[in-house]
C-alpha cells in the first residue's frame, strides 16, 4: 500500500466551472417512462447535470476555473511553477493538454506541465503529484486542473452512463507554507479489473474503425459501440462498497482518525446510492457528507474538487475543516486523503 505524508504544504483555493447547458433527467430521455425516470433519479440522486457543447473541452472549463481562482487569490499566472491537467478527455491525442494551457493561461515558459490520465481517483492522484513536486521537487506553487467532458464519451441512449455523467472543470492551487498540519494519503490500483469501466476502442490496442464505431448490442445486453464508454455497474458497485470502504477503514485506523473528529467526508460523486452506502458503512452521518451530484451529476476527476468548492462557497466563514477525501473508479484506481483545510478560498461555481 502506497502510504505517504507531506508537510509544509497548503491547499490555498479550489474553484469549479460547469457548462451553461443543463440537462434535466425528468425532461430528457424520451425513451424512458416517467416512472422509470423518477425511480432512477431517486436511486442515483442525479436530478440534472451539465452538458458541454461540441466546441467546449474540459481544458476550457479548467482554464476558466483557473482564471477565477487567480483573481480571487490575487495571484499572477507567472507565479505558477507547474500545471497538472488530470483528464480522460484531452483536447488532442497529443500533445499534453497541460502544454496548451500553459500558453492560454499566460504562465511562464519555465513552467513544468503535463497530463495525468485518470478519472474518478484523479484528484487524489493529482494532489499527490502536486505535493510530491513541492516536497521532493523543490517547486513552490502548483496549479492542479481536474476536468472531464464525459458526456462526449457515452452513447446517448445508454441509461447506464447517460443518466449520471456530467461535465465540469476545476482548479486547485497548492502552495508551500510552513507550520501547517500534515497531509496524509494512501493510493491503490487494481488493473485486473481494468475492463469494468472502459472505452475499448480509439487507442492503439483497438484503433477506431468503421466497425468499432457501429452501434450494436454488446455481450452485456447494452446498445453502444466500442468507441463508447462501457460500465459494469454491479462490479463497480461491489468494488466501491468493499475495496474502497476497506481502504478508508484501514487508513483511518492506522492514522488514528476518528469519525467524530472530522468535519467532512468528500467522496467521488459516483451516484447517491453508492456514496450513501459507503458513508453508512464507515459510520459517517450524512450531514458530514456533502453532495454536488444532484446538480452536476458524476463529473469524473472533477467531482471531489467541485463538491468541495460547491460546499464551502456557500459558507460565510470556513475556518479550519478536518476532511477526508476519497476518489475511486476507472483503472481500477482509488485513494484517500486526510487534510485540514484552513480558510480555503472557494469561489461560487462558475459557468461557461
Amino acid at each position: 500500500m502506497a502510504k505517504v505524508k507531506f508537510n509544509n504544504i497548503v491547499v490555498r483555493g479550489i474553484s469549479g466551472v460547469v457548462p451553461k447547458n443543463k440537462v434535466n433527467n425528468l425532461n430528457a430521455h424520451s425513451e424512458l417512462t416517467d416512472a422509470e425516470k423518477k425511480k432512477t433519479i431517486k436511486l442515483t440522486g442525479v436530478h440534472e447535470y451539465r452538458k458541454s457543447s461540441a466546441d467546449v473541452c474540459a481544458s476550457d472549463l479548467c482554464q476558466k476555473a483557473a482564471e477565477i481562482l487567480f483573481e480571487r487569490l490575487g495571484i499572477s499566472p507567472s507565479t505558477i511553477d507547474a500545471i497538472l491537467f488530470v483528464s480522460q478527455t484531452p483536447d488532442h491525442r497529443l500533445p499534453s493538454t497541460a502544454c496548451i494551457l500553459q500558453n492560454k493561461l499566460s504562465c511562464l515558459k519555465s513552467t513544468l506541465a503535463f497530463d495525468i490520465n485518470l478519472g474518478c481517483s484523479g484528484f487524489i492522484y493529482g494532489l499527490y503529484t502536486a505535493c510530491s513536486l513541492i516536497q521532493g521537487g523543490g517547486l513552490r506553487r502548483v496549479l492542479l486542473l481536474c476536468g472531464d467532458t464525459q458526456t462526449k464519451l457515452g452513447y446517448g441512449e445508454d441509461k447506464n452512463v447517460n443518466f449520471i455523467l456530467g461535465d465540469a472543470g476545476t482548479a486547485t492551487i497548492i502552495d508551500v507554507k510552513e507550520d501547517v498540519p500534515d497531509i496524509k494519503m494512501t493510493l491503490m490500483t487494481d488493473g485486473s479489473r481494468y475492463d469494468k469501466l472502459i472505452v475499448p476502442a480509439g487507442g492503439c490496442r483497438i484503433p477506431s474503425t468503421d466497425s468499432t464505431r457501429k452501434i450494436e448490442k454488446q455481450p452485456d445486453g447494452g446498445f453502444r459501440s466500442l468507441d463508447h464508454l462501457c460500465m459494469d455497474g454491479m462490479e463497480i458497485f461491489n468494488f466501491s462498497v468493499t475495496d474502497v470502504v476497506q481502504t478508508i477503514r484501514e487508513f483511518m485506523a492506522e492514522e488514528n482518525i476518528k469519525v467524530e473528529e472530522t468535519d467532512c467526508l468528500f467522496l467521488h460523486q459516483a451516484n447517491k446510492f453508492m456514496t450513501d452506502k459507503i458513508a453508512r458503512k464507515l459510520k459517517f452521518s450524512l450531514e458530514k457528507v456533502p453532495y454536488s451530484l444532484g446538480f452536476y451529476g458524476n463529473t469524473s476527476c472533477a467531482s471531489i474538487p467541485l463538491t468541495i468548492a460547491h460546499h464551502f462557497s456557500q459558507m460565510e466563514t470556513i475556518g479550519k475543516k478536518h476532511c477526508l477525501l476519497s476518489g475511486f473508479g476507472v483503472g481500477l484506481s482509488w485513494g484517500v486523503i486526510d487534510i485540514i483545510f484552513d480558510d480555503i478560498v472557494c469561489p461560487i461555481i462558475g459557468e461557461l
Binding site: 432512477t40 436511486l43 459494469d232 455497474g233 454491479m234 462490479e235 461491489n238 462498497v241 468493499t242 446510492f273
Partner: protein, 74 residues
Amino acid sequence: MEDSFIEWFSEILESENPVSLEDVLADIEEWDSLAALSLISMVDDEYGIIMGSKDVKKMVIVRDILDFIKNSME
C-alpha cells in the same frame, strides 16, 4: 427466512404485484440493473454476503437468489 426474503425483495422491486419464488426474473417488469444493484446492497446489509455481477447473471428465477444466499451462508 423465505418469508422475510420475499418481503424485502418485493420492497426492492417496488412491485405492485406479489412476487413468488418461482417467478422468472426476466419476466418481472421492475427487475432491471438498478434493482439488481439494490439487491446486491441489501444482501450485503442483511447477510454480509457479496454477490458478483456473474452470480446475478446466472440467476433465472427468484428462488435462485435465495439459494445463493443460503449456500453462501453455509
